[in-house]
Amino acid sequence: MSGLLQVRGATVRVDATMLLDAVDVDVHLGEVLVVVGPNGAGKSTLLSVLAGDTRPDEGSVTLDGAPVEAVRPAELARHRGVLLQENQVSFPFRVVDVVRMGRAPWRGTDAEDRDDDVVAGALDDADVTHLAARRYPTLSGGEKSRASYARVLAQEPRLLLLDEPTAALDVRHQERVLARARAHARAGGAVVVVLHDLALAAAWADRVLVLAGGRVAAHGAPADVLTGALLTDVYDHPVDVLPHPVTGALLVLPRHGAAPDVVPEPDHDPTLQPLAEDLA
């Protein structure tokens, strides 16, 4: 296993808010790194730092030992592909046109000759071959997400950065997308996936990075990191982790109905006290 991307002490601030606070991460070829954490933990910011979109205020990001900001956009595009959460297309391009756009970084290289095969393969991997001639804006949310995934696969980068690729997908396609991502890693690539679904994280990660409040709360193999105690603490909500009775795989189960009352009682909520005093 070799390091492809190294992040050291990455700190990102917006005004007084710390989005990332001295985060260290290594992305290795051959493995799937899953990033989890509550809303606002800095997951998307970290992905944006890894992608070279956001330059950290402090710390460094290096790709193959070279500072990522020094790599030209066209060169960088041959190394990393990024699937964002939101994937809008301004004009009614066909799905096949959108996926072909993924080949743009390879224009003028020998790899261009394989364009048609790569695009056909990517369409199939994301299960959107039957939608190839459809106009992108007419697709459903999940179909858009898969079509965009096909675009990123067609780019053939070594490093795949995926921001919640499964959020809009049904169970079958969730599995298919993550299986394809793992296959990419097994074939020698690297994958970083941001996931909200902890069960999926437990199932597909080689390594898990738990972010909370812009800091690394835990980092390591899923079985070591995804524990009931840690997740309960990080998410501020009771979470159980059990072995699957049949397969032995990790099951991550948030306790449903365990949230504090959504409507607080006035005398228990300090923010409502002044109002109560005014009324008195």
Partner: protein, 368 residues
């Protein structure tokens, strides 16, 4: 056993779908270019022969050949026919094509950069920005660059207006319809006020020139003007064509375009300069001719899809056809009168714009 052996490349991809990919360029594209070219040439011959002094098509071609030093076809039979063709008609026909191509290509380019089908040099105020600067040179009597002064000022005015719209109407890599249109309203209002001020300050002759600006007309086109406009338009069209691929990627949004290797900041700046160049070339001598940049790219998109490698050249060709036709109507619809062409295009383009806004609104599910 079938006659065809499976392709080796397919064998490497066992999961690959055997059905071929949809073609990159629809078959209709060839028909569109062929049809538009035929329409342009036919219309040019008819337009050159139409007017106060009628010249039949065969004599138009004969006159053209003679002017180019070829003894082909019949000579214009009217004693003034040859002179009318070469001093009045041909420069005007050529100018109509150049201006139409420039405006439509500028529209296509602008829509690509803004990621919004409603962006158009006239609607967002680029044309009026160019007109303000040009009329300033008229009223203030500036002539630092000789015959290029007006065109140069129009370019600067258009550039300032384009950057202003760009800076004001964009956020997060996209421009919302309502923001864009309202920004255009504001820019047009300011430019209208400045134009009004210049109209007030100018003497009778200058006023006439400014009014002509606002109405838009190809009347009085001379070869000297064509010689200034043509190189600007050619440079602008070549630059627009060179940007086409990257504009496609920009449709994915700025971040995704950057992830695919596009230097988005540079592309934006270059595109805005090219839009200003094309718009300035169009309005420099002919005034504000609006909606060409809106209508033509939209029709082309409906016919052959949004890919800019087809859209930009097809829009240029379509714009040339549209403006040539509009100019023919402008100078022949009413005998002994040369109607302002800007009025005609706005008359057709205004309702079209309304329809487009309603359609966009319906698709976006609100004022998004």
């Amino acid at each position: 056993m079938t006659a065809t052996a499976p392709r080796a490349t397919r064998a490497a991809l066992p999961d690959a779908d055997p059905s071929p990919l949809p073609p990159t360029v629809p078959a209709r594209v060839a028909w569109l270019f062929g049809g538009l070219t035929a329409a342009l040439l036919g219309l040019a011959v008819v337009a050159a022969g139409s007017g106060h002094l009628h010249v039949p098509p065969a004599e138009v071609l004969g006159g053209l050949a003679r002017g180019l030093g070829l003894e082909l076809g019949p000579e214009p039979s009217h004693p003034n026919g040859y002179a009318a063709l070469w001093t009045i008609r041909f420069p005007r026909v050529l100018m109509a094509m150049l201006v139409g191509a420039a405006l439509a290509a500028a529209g296509a380019l602008m829509q690509g950069v803004f990621g919004n089908p409603l962006a158009e040099p006239g609607v967002v105020g680029v044309s009026s920005g160019a007109a303000v600067a040009a009329s300033a040179t008229i009223v203030l009597g500036v002539s630092v660059a000789g015959p290029w002064t007006t065109a140069g000022a129009a370019f600067l005015g258009g550039l300032v207006a384009t950057f202003a719209v760009y800076a004001l109407a964009r956020s997060g890599g996209r421009t919302e319809v309502v923001t864009l249109v309202l920004t255009g309203v504001a820019i047009n209002a300011v430019c209208g006020a400045v134009l009004a001020l210049f109209t007030f300050l100018g003497d009778t002759q200058e006023r006439e020139q400014i009014v002509f600006w606002q109405l838009g007309s190809l009347n009085g086109t001379r070869w000297a003007y064509v010689a200034i406009v043509a190189p600007l338009v050619v440079v602008g069209l070549v630059a627009a064509g060179a940007m086409a691929r990257r504009l496609d990627l920009l449709a994915l949004g700025e971040r995704s375009a950057r992830h695919l290797g596009v230097d988005v900041e540079r592309l934006r700046v270059v595109a805005v300069v090219v839009v200003a160049l094309l718009t300035a070339a169009a309005v420099a001598f002919c005034g504000i001719i609006s909606f060409v940049g809106l209508v033509v790219p939209h029709l082309v998109r409906m016919a052959v899809g949004p890919g800019h490698r087809v859209l930009v050249p097809a829009s240029a060709l379509g714009g040339a056809v549209l403006l040539l036709a509009a100019d023919l109507v402008a100078r022949t619809a009413v005998p002994y009168a040369d109607l302002p062409i800007g009025m005609l295009t706005a008359l057709v383009g205004g309702p079209f714009f309304l329809w487009l806004v309603r359609r966009t609104r319906r698709q976006a599910g609100g004022w998004a």
